[in-house]
């Protein structure tokens, strides 16, 4: 109780300070992404996308009476929880960030949330952590954690729908042995079995091996109409597909997001004809709009999770405006309000319009670059593109 009192007094004092300064205040936001590590090639564009949104808001001069928004980059490393925690700790206590765009990977995101963000009451919006383990359905996150990427639990359901529509009732399943692979595989198995399908085997594979014949031997023995490969295309996932094709164990596959890439088509060409897959992706109109907006600021605007990062940053700033305060304790409850209906639709590039409406006391429904719709405990509902493989090429087979 004492602590709570102290905290609220401190917050009130700081909020008072913010009002007193009025013009030309500075709001700092952390951008903690995996700038080094396994997704470093994606993080470049994600970081630029977050800064693009901040630049747009700063230039509008409308946020909280002309506040300037500065992004402070931090390296989460994607895999080293201790390093990521230290970065977040420093940003919050020493740099004084008012919110964090990040982190990139599920494991370090959970570490930052539990060790730093909860203790300091800082809002986090992750653009790319998809583990179902981060869905805080019982408010364990104290309303501080949101994500603009859909949970893999949702992907499991979408996968089930795709397979059921293709009348596939029995599959073998292999996943890469980490948080992403395991979470996705379990989510899929649960959804698929509920829908009446059966998973003959749910086996892990390690990345970075030279030889997957033993793994494929077990998968082949279990059998099934096709093989679901919840892995990485640059890693063991392709090895499994290669071994399965070579031994004739499977000739049809289903690929979740970690496998969908031009690399897959490059590796296997027409050998995987008849396979299917899906990955989160906004509609073509929204990606075209964002590509146009990001020209000159982001090298590859359609790079995975770059639009999501823009939206994550935009949501934090819009929520601040709606609350009339940059304090996480004040604006955390506004994130869902600005993201969802009712209100005027705001797309990417219209942040100034959104800020103005909120300033005038209106309501907005942020659409952004990825058609943001936050559901459940504050995560994106997710729009998926279903792909098929025909004649050695990837084709769009629908949207979900």
């Amino acid at each position: 109780m004492k602590k709570l009192l102290l905290a609220s007094t401190a917050t009130a004092m700081m909020a008072g300070g913010a009002f007193a300064d009025g013009h030309a205040t500075e709001v700092k936001l952390g951008i903690i992404l995996g700038f080094t590590g396994p997704i470093e090639s994606l993080a470049v564009h994600m970081g630029n996308a977050a800064e693009l949104a901040m630049k747009e808001v700063t230039e509008s001069g409308l946020l909280l009476d002309g506040a300037k928004v500065t992004g402070i980059r931090g390296d989460s490393t994607c895999i080293d929880a201790a390093a990521a925690t230290a970065v977040a700790e420093r940003q919050i206590t020493s740099d004084g960030v008012k919110g964090i765009v990040g982190s990139g990977c599920s494991g370090v995101t959970a570490a930052i949330l539990n060790n730093v963000a909860l203790a300091n009451g800082t809002v986090m919006i992750s653009p790319s952590a998809t583990s179902p383990g981060l869905s805080h359905n019982n408010n364990e996150d104290e309303g501080l954690f949101f994500r603009t990427a859909p949970s893999d639990a949702r992907q499991g359901v979408v996968m089930t729908e795709v397979l059921m529509e293709a009348d596939v009732k029995e599959v073998a399943l292999t996943y890469t042995n980490n948080d992403y692979g395991k979470g996705l595989a379990d989510a899929f198995q649960a959804a698929y079995e509920e829908a009446g399908g059966s998973v003959t085997i749910n086996a892990a594979h390690e990345d970075g091996k030279a030889d997957y014949s033993a793994e494929v031997g077990a998968l082949a023995s279990a059998g099934g109409d096709l093989l679901v490969v919840a892995g990485y295309v640059d890693q063991g996932g392709s090895g499994i597909v290669r071994a399965a094709l070579d031994t004739g164990a499977f000739d049809r596959f289903h690929f979740p997001d970690g496998m969908i890439s031009t690399k897959l088509v490059e590796n296997f060409g027409s050998e995987i004809d008849g396979s299917s897959g899906q990955h989160p992706s906004p509609s073509d109109e929204l990606s075209a709009l964002f590509t146009e907006l990001a020209k000159g600021d982001i090298d590859e605007p359609t790079s995975p999770f770059a639009p999501e990062t823009y939206d994550a940053a935009a949501l934090i700033m819009l929520a601040m405006q709606a609350a009339g305060s940059s304090e996480p304790a004040d604006y955390k409850s506004k994130v869902m309000d600005v993201a969802n209906a009712p209100g005027e639709k705001i797309s990417a590039g219209e942040l100034a319009k959104g800020l103005q409406i909120l300033k005038d006391g209106g309501d907005i429904d942020y659409v952004g670059a990825t058609d943001v719709e936050l559901i459940g405990p504050g995560e994106a509902a997710g729009n998926y593109r279903v792909v098929g493989y025909e004649g050695g090429a990837e084709v769009t087979a629908g949207r979900k």
Binding site: N177, I201, A203, A204, H205, E206, G208, K209, A210, D211, S213, A214, E215, V216, G217, A218, A220, S221, A222, G223, G239, D246, T247, G248, A249
Partner: protein, 336 residues
């Protein structure tokens, strides 16, 4: 018909990969066992010597490919192999001159030698990554299959397919040729006999006028050939990545020790034993059992003893069991 299907399924997923893997391990274990028998230490750098040799072969293969030399249906790497062996031989002789000779002259204990080889391992490991990079490299070309699963099914009308990759065929043939040559060399030539004499009793060999430096030189050259061939075959059949060669050290040592360190015959037997143990213990027998057993007995589950994650644990367990109960190995090698 069901019985035939069972045999084909077993051959496709257990026998063929097991034989190819066993041959690769046997060649690796032969190198380890020769060094242990003649130079009297466990060479931890062997896995990385394999990677180093394979790297030379890959670089030369790329060179050949870029000027349009190919071996037709066979992988170009086979043409590059002799050059790779020569370069690896030079590297090993150089390492011996710079590093090992000093310790041999001062007659250090074997355990010091092991630590020295550990150092060599790290250097080679780093150099390989520095030169060719830590990622996967592909260098296999030519025909991919002797017989593909689809063709086999069409030919025989069976439900199960049998695939034999060209690289698997080459692996087995090369291994047989290399082993035959090695045994001929050790048993029939003067140099081979002097190497065996040196291995049996160093002092006696020195007294009878055998030049130890020559024996050491020949040993390194043979080891270079064995390591490069084993590494290239493994890389052709699977894929080349420096880290996986480092990991191969465990099954290779297990093979050499199970067979009996210092015994070439044991190394071969050990290689196949480890390979088949790894594959059979982690194989899910459901499919084969369903073909062979009557319906009432057929298993519902996967009939898998261990999940494939535990593949390496199998080599470890065999290693421990052998060290506990038969420390000299199956073929009476030296005890560790």
């Amino acid at each position: 018909m069901d019985f035939l299907n069972a045999i084909v399924a077993l051959a496709n997923f257990v026998l063929v990969p097991g034989i190819a893997y066993g041959a690769q391990l046997a060649l690796g274990a032969l190198g380890v066992t020769l060094i242990y028998g003649i130079l009297r230490f466990s060479n931890f750098a062997h896995g990385d010597t394999m990677a180093f040799g394979t790297m030379f072969v890959i670089l030369i293969t790329w060179g050949f490919q870029s000027v349009g030399i190919s071996a037709g249906p066979l992988p170009t790497a086979l043409l590059a192999l002799p050059f790779g062996i020569a370069l690896t031989g030079l590297v090993l002789l150089g390492t011996d001159r710079i590093v090992y000779r000093f310790y041999r002259r001062t007659r250090v204990k074997p355990v010091v030698f092991v630590m020295v080889s550990l150092g060599v391992m790290f250097i080679m490991n780093g150099l390989t990554r520095f030169i060719i990079g830590p990622g996967d490299q592909r260098f296999a070309d030519g025909e991919r299959f002797l017989i593909s699963a689809r063709d086999f099914k069409e030919m025989t009308g069976l439900k199960e397919g049998l695939a034999i990759k060209t690289t698997q065929g080459i692996t087995v043939i090369t291994a047989v040729v290399v082993v035959a040559l090695l045994f001929w060399f050790l048993n029939r030539t003067r140099t081979g006999k002097s190497m065996r004499a040196f291995s049996d009793n160093e002092d006696l060999a020195l007294l009878s006028g055998i030049n130890p430096e020559r024996v050491v030189m020949y040993t390194w050259l043979i080891v270079a050939a064995l390591a490069t061939i084993a590494g290239t075959l493994y890389g052709l059949d699977k894929s080349f990545k420096p880290f996986t060669y480092f990991q191969l050290l465990l099954p290779i040592f297990a093979a050499a020790i199970v067979g009996g360190l210092g015994s070439p015959l044991g190394a071969i037997a050990g290689g196949f034993l480890i390979a088949f143990a790894e594959v059979t213990v982690t194989y899910a027998w459901k499919k084969v059992a369903n073909y062979v057993l009557p319906e009432a007995l057929a298993p519902d589950g996967l009939a898998q003893l261990l999940s494939t994650d535990y593949k390496f644990a199998v080599s470890f367990s065999i290693l421990i069991i052998v060290l506990l109960f038969k420390p000299t190995g199956l073929f009476k090698g030296q005890s560790v």
